[in-house]
């Protein structure tokens, strides 16, 4: 095989490998909330069911999240509703992970500047709002 066809074959293999990796990546990602890693799902909400924490989370939501997701979590423009089966079914740790990391390429900022406790309070608030599951 001459150099040129060999280079073409190598390029094709790399492209196919990349496509396969992306496909597996997407498949792997689709099973978790916003591509949260499996370790995120293992995290437990230290304030689960705590009404005081949820009240604090409500205040934090109004300060930080409502501007995009709406005062009633209904979503606005590109920011999705937070009252949905997707959010309800997400593990608390996955929601916490997504709030911490955001999705910087798609408009969701990282909220890591908020203390960990406050991010869990927001998770607690979202859980309390989604608990009814009446969408």
């Amino acid at each position: 095989m001459t150099a040129r066809p060999r280079a073409l074959l190598c390029t094709a293999l790399v492209v196919v490998a990349a496509i396969l990796c992306m496909t597996f990546d997407v498949a792997a990602q689709s099973s978790s909330f916003h591509s949260a890693p499996p370790s995120a799902a293992q995290m437990k909400n230290p304030y689960a069911g705590d009404a005081q924490a949820a009240a604090g989370g409500k205040k934090l939501y109004a300060q930080n999240c409502a501007q995009c997701h709406g005062n009633n979590l209904q979503g606005m423009g590109p920011a999705p509703t937070l009252l949905s089966p997707k959010v309800k079914n997400a593990k608390p740790g996955e929601t916490f992970w997504f709030i911490t990391n955001g999705d910087l390429n798609n408009g969701m900022p990282s909220w890591s500047q908020l203390p960990k406790q406050q991010r869990w309070q927001i998770v607690t608030f979202l859980e309390s709002k989604n608990a009814a599951g009446d969408y």
Partner: protein, 290 residues
């Protein structure tokens, strides 16, 4: 006539200020040091910062910087500054502008989060904002009268590597600064480092003004590191500055008494600032022109 225009502008500005919803989240109390926090996409943050000092052999001055910080993307924040100062017994002058851009290098949170910063500034020698200290910047630069100092033009490119971590409620940030005058002087170096923490890590359930979660306290260290020809701390300015911020509704107030640690430093300075964030600024602007 001019006064009427000024009053109208002020009125419109105030109207905008209070009419638009604002949100400020965990804003750091720092004046000099950057952490990994980027402006939320589409939001505009307006900040007024002041600095006052009384040099040993010079006139007291008050420097003012107005900053417009815009979140272009989740990973890209751009900021425009207008600088000015007033010196007792001399004059009040506009000293120039700066345009900075910050790019987050990693899309997810890590133990250390790097951000790349690049700025172009076109200021004159009378600028006393001291929003970065590099090379052999010293208090003696401020002794040159405004009329003479303002003739010196400083067109500079400044880069920073920002490293920042959030651990156990604390933020720890380090900035490494390299600045180059485009007219050909050697590279000048500097640094800034800071730690801060909210006074309470939990949010209280009720609305409150004086609750501890609305306060953040910390300390900043910054100074020059010489130039490419002479990399040293000898003969440079070095500062330590406790910082405190207080969030009240739509505003954040910041204050920082600053103390010089070397002969080249100002002995004491006071920094203060107020900032507002206009959330959904891009959306509102688009609506206006639709």
């Amino acid at each position: 006539m001019a006064a009427a225009v000024f009053l109208k502008t002020l009125f419109l500005f105030c109207l905008l200020w209070f009419a638009l919803p604002a949100a400020l989240a965990g804003e750091r109390p720092y004046f000099i040091t950057y952490d990994q926090t980027m402006e939320e996409p589409g939001n505009l943050d307006i900040e007024l910062e002041g600095l006052t000092a009384s040099p040993q052999d010079g006139d007291q001055f008050l420097s003012g910087v107005t900053e417009f910080e815009y979140g272009a993307k989740g990973w890209w924040t751009t900021e425009f500054y207008l600088d000015g100062q007033t010196t007792a017994n001399q004059s009040t002058i506009f000293t120039g502008y700066r345009w900075e851009n910050r790019f987050r290098l990693l899309m997810h949170e890590h133990i250390i989060n790097p951000v790349f910063y690049v700025e172009y500034e076109d200021i004159n020698g009378a600028d006393k904002s001291l929003i970065e200290v590099v090379g052999f910047d010293s208090q003696y630069d401020g002794l040159v009268p405004n009329q003479e100092a303002s003739r010196e033009r400083q067109r500079e490119i400044e880069t920073k590597l920002i490293l920042s971590s959030n651990v156990y409620g604390w933020n720890v940030a380090e900035n490494f600064i390299a600045e180059k005058n485009v007219t050909g002087n050697p590279w000048e170096f500097g640094y800034a480092a800071a730690v801060s923490r909210p006074l309470s890590l939990l949010a209280s359930p009720d609305e409150c003004t004086l609750c501890r979660e609305n306060f953040q306290a910390g300390v900043e260290f910054y100074g020059g590191l010489g130039t490419a020809n002479k990399f040293t701390v000898h003969g440079t300015s070095q500062y330590v500055a406790p910082v405190l911020s207080w969030q009240v509704g739509n505003a954040v107030f910041k204050v920082s008494p600053t103390f010089g640690l070397t002969d080249a430093s100002y002995r004491a300075m006071l920094r203060f600032g107020v900032q507002y964030e206009i959330s959904g600024f891009r959306r509102k602007l688009e609506k206006l022109f639709r």
